[in-house]
Symmetry: C2
Subunit: 530 residues, 2 copies
């Protein structure tokens, strides 16, 4: 874990997009917005950003675990949203944590929490720092704040091959988790865009959505039991395949975003590595025709692993912006059996909605990595790396996601698309781009994932972006959607979550928090007010 | 809803087992225990049971909704466990509710709750009254208690065919729910043994397990949103196919067993009525061989609708008690596609574990209603009707259920079987019968369902049964199981739940309850102490 991450943007300090990737993307953007050239701001250097002095005094006994140096504090100040990188480019970090702790054991966490309790510091649990909702960002009303990075608690502690489950520490990054399973027949296979720099504990705390587009979409379904250190003690649930004993204690922890405690371990369900695959892509005349097919597949009980519907202009290279076409990336996978029957039936449903499948992909064993599926996969993995380049050029490149039942989907989709386009036009004075895809689908509705682009005014681009996103999110919850399907609430979505969640639930959650965290020290400002 | 239920036992007053059924069962029992004859106690008449006078005065405005007559109070005093019917046969009902309210609208519920709050009465929400864990039973430390029967709120209010979901009132009984869907392509298909006399609200409050042996086993997975009247107000969640916004508010309500409020409505997921079926039964030399096959099927991602492993002596007529054989009842069903591939693969897994399938059943369209599957189905549906006849004859006939990961399953199964046999022998002085089946299975472990039989001493049979069950349940939680997979906690399982649930979760739940129910009036004694 010595590899240095880029403090101001996604990824590691030693990796960059290739010159070719940047050139090709610049060309696309310039053509689309009719721009002659770009004014490229230089990325920040760590020493260009002034931080106020740390306001905590680390006791001698904790000094080996706690850093207060400039770089550690800077690196842990923001997540990885467009507005985070933007503020880094502005060299504006007014509220860094005062210290960053790197506990190596659960006992270390308890010692750090005790110190924070005694010294009146607030605590921000920190996994991979990939939040795009200000989930790990100190705010100005904190008097002292200590970020607890979980990165040293990164072990797969135990694998139970009979039950296909593993006990894993909360601080493990995605790739390192899978590495530790490499010599077993198993995989967790909970991939998402932030996979490389996010942790199991973070996934559980934020209810992440993963690789599977149907069935086991959220981390919720993977969790067999959890172990959480709270300021009041340790809450460990029983490992059970299923239980009906009272409201699920795990479901109180899952999605708690650090306000109740720090998830130190979990037993999670694994599965055998897939041996069989059937993958292709299907083109539809319109997004709504594709949506009809996806609904049919979701309601047929076919359970594809991938079932992502994209606007072709977003998913396929060289698609003209005016195209109304959509492409469905469709994959079935199994460790146990062939999937021809499932794929055939899914393609039948697609054909009924006018879909045309890529027949050659069906013959190709690696088709999930080539063709439209491969293009999508590559874009999906690389997308976060473009954020800093967008910021450097004053370009908007941000996303938000929600979910909606099928019955209201058409109207909702049209409304949010329109609101988003209007919001960009209003904030920037010119047309932007808005695209929608389905990242996960359910029998009762899809997760809609919107991507926004536009040309901003660098002098006020942070305000422009905030205003656009706020308008979009408010419309989303006002029209019945959720403020987040898998990005979490954090501090950024809190005003929208306030409108969405039942007031009595907020009161119940607040009461539960007071019980586990009587000082209100755990990640304040997230989810609920004290 | 005018049909009268039997106040002292399962079912309706106008239905009985046939003389043939009773004779055949008596014969079996007599042979097994070597009994010459039975001393059959007469069932209680309502007027043979004295109830203390009601301690509440119903305000005039509520009198049309609230009954305080003998029969209404008697009928709502106990659930339907063996020990409930036993106490009815003992003519012992020391703690009946003081009144039973039958609200017709949500506003009625609020009015009744307000009255209870003002008069200091405790409130017991009542669905179908099928609890086997004292979930709806007033206890002696309640000063006044009003049971709120939900049976008038029994409508399917809205069907959304596009999203395949319906808005349904909490008081609807299983059959009446499906009746109201009869003219749609949909079904909820959440069947369980108590289906005929239990309600949607009850299923949600108790986290019932239903028809599906894999995948969507618990009601939890069917719930899209909930609406709950609490003493502090109404808590309604958003209808969303999926969300990652904070801990799930529905998951706080699901399993809350009436301590937070009364579930008046829910949006639930439906599915199309199945058109395709593949069903058979598979015999195994031992229960453990069958368990290996079931584990293989569960981990293969095949998702059979039915996958119930029974000891042959429990599931098949004319199997000698000494037989170690097991039978797997295996059904795939779909509204969309043929299931031959899934069934073939499942049978391959069975064969690898020495299983021998009933080939003729595979050819038979109605095989899920004939052969071993049919025999099991019939026993399953009829079983609760035998309880009163067991009680009348001083015979133990009770069950408990739990779940366990596969890795510990062998030892756990052996231990609980032994503990149960010992407990019966110790309490009764003779050998009883203990059988185990799987009712639901997961990739990481099965739900184990134990059935206990024995010959009791009528003079002390209530104590004998209680002592046996207490010993079994305590061993279950001491050895890492859950106190309930789908029977709920109620008052009966509370001591075992106390050991199982994390103390910090109990504190959080208590705090949440205090917020929603500050007077502690809702179903006190269930799940947690105040």
């Amino acid at each position: 874990m010595t590899r240095q991450k880029k403090f101001y943007a996604w990824g590691y300090a030693d990796e960059e997009l290739t010159a070719d990737e940047i050139r090709s993307w610049e060309g696309e953007v310039a053509r689309h917005y009719n721009l002659a050239s770009f004014d490229v701001s230089p990325p920040p250097q760590a020493d260009q950003i002034a931080l106020r002095p740390s306001r905590v005094v680390v006791p001698a006994a904790l000094q080996p675990l706690v850093r207060t140096d400039h770089f550690a504090r800077l690196e842990h100040s923001y997540g990885k949203a467009w507005f985070d990188t933007c503020r880094m480019f502005m060299r504006s970090v007014p509220n860094p944590p005062d210290a960053v702790a790197f506990p190596e054991t659960e006992q270390d966490i308890i010692r750090v929490l005790d110190w924070c309790a005694q010294s009146g510091a607030k605590v921000i649990p920190y996994g991979g720092g990939s939040s795009v909702v200000k989930g790990i960002e100190p705010t100005e009303n904190f008097e002292k704040v200590v970020t607890i990075s979980m990165r040293c608690l990164d072990k797969v502690l135990e694998v139970d091959p009979m039950s296909q489950a593993a006990r894993i520490q909360g601080g493990v990054y995605g790739p390192h988790l899978e590495d530790q399973l490499r010599n077993t027949p198993f995989t967790m296979r909970h991939y998402m865009q932030a996979y490389r720099c996010s942790t199991l504990g973070g996934w559980i705390a934020t209810r992440s959505g993963g690789h599977y587009a149907t069935l086991h979409t959220h981390i919720d379904d993977f969790v067999e039991s959890t172990r959480t250190v709270t300021p009041t003690g340790t809450l460990e649930t029983r490992r059970l395949p299923g239980s009906g004993a009272g409201p699920s204690p795990d479901r109180m922890i899952i999605g708690s975003e650090g306000i109740l405690g720090i998830i130190t371990e979990a037993w999670v369900r694994l599965r055998k590595k897939p041996r069989f695959r059937a993958a292709t892509s299907v083109r539809f005349k319109t997004f709504h025709a594709g949506a009809d097919a996806v609904r049919g597949i979701a309601q047929a009980g076919l359970y594809p692993a991938n079932c992502r519907l994209l606007e072709a202009r977003e998913g396929l290279p060289d698609t003209p912006w005016q195209s109304e076409e959509a492409v469905l990336v469709l994959t079935f996978e199994s460790a146990d059996h062939l999937l021809d029957a499932s794929m055939s039936r899914a393609l039948e449903i697609c054909r009924d909605c006018g879909g045309i499948a890529d027949e050659s992909a069906l013959e190709d064993e690696n088709s999930h990595r080539s063709g439209a599926a491969g293009a999508w996969r590559n874009r999906f993995i690389r997308a976060p790396y473009y954020t800093e380049h967008a910021v450097a050029r004053g370009l908007l490149a941000t996303t938000f996601e929600t979910s909606m039942t099928w019955e209201r989907f058409h109207d909702f989709h049209a409304t949010i698309m329109q609101v988003s386009r209007d919001a960009i036009r209003q904030a920037t004075g010119r047309e932007g781009t808005v695209t929608c895809r389905f990242t996960h689908v359910y029998p009762d509705g899809p997760c809609l994932y919107f991507t926004l682009g536009g040309v901003l005014d660098k002098r006020v681009m942070l305000d422009q972006c905030t205003s656009i996103l706020t308008t979009c999110m408010m419309a989303t919850v006002d029209h019945g959607g959720t403020t987040t399907h898998h990005h979490a609430v954090g501090r950024f979505h809190k005003p929208f979550y306030d409108k969405q969640r039942p007031e009595l639930f907020a009161r119940a959650l607040r009461a539960a928090k007071r019980e586990l965290d009587p000082r209100g020290m755990m990640n304040p400002g997230v989810l609920i007010d004290p």
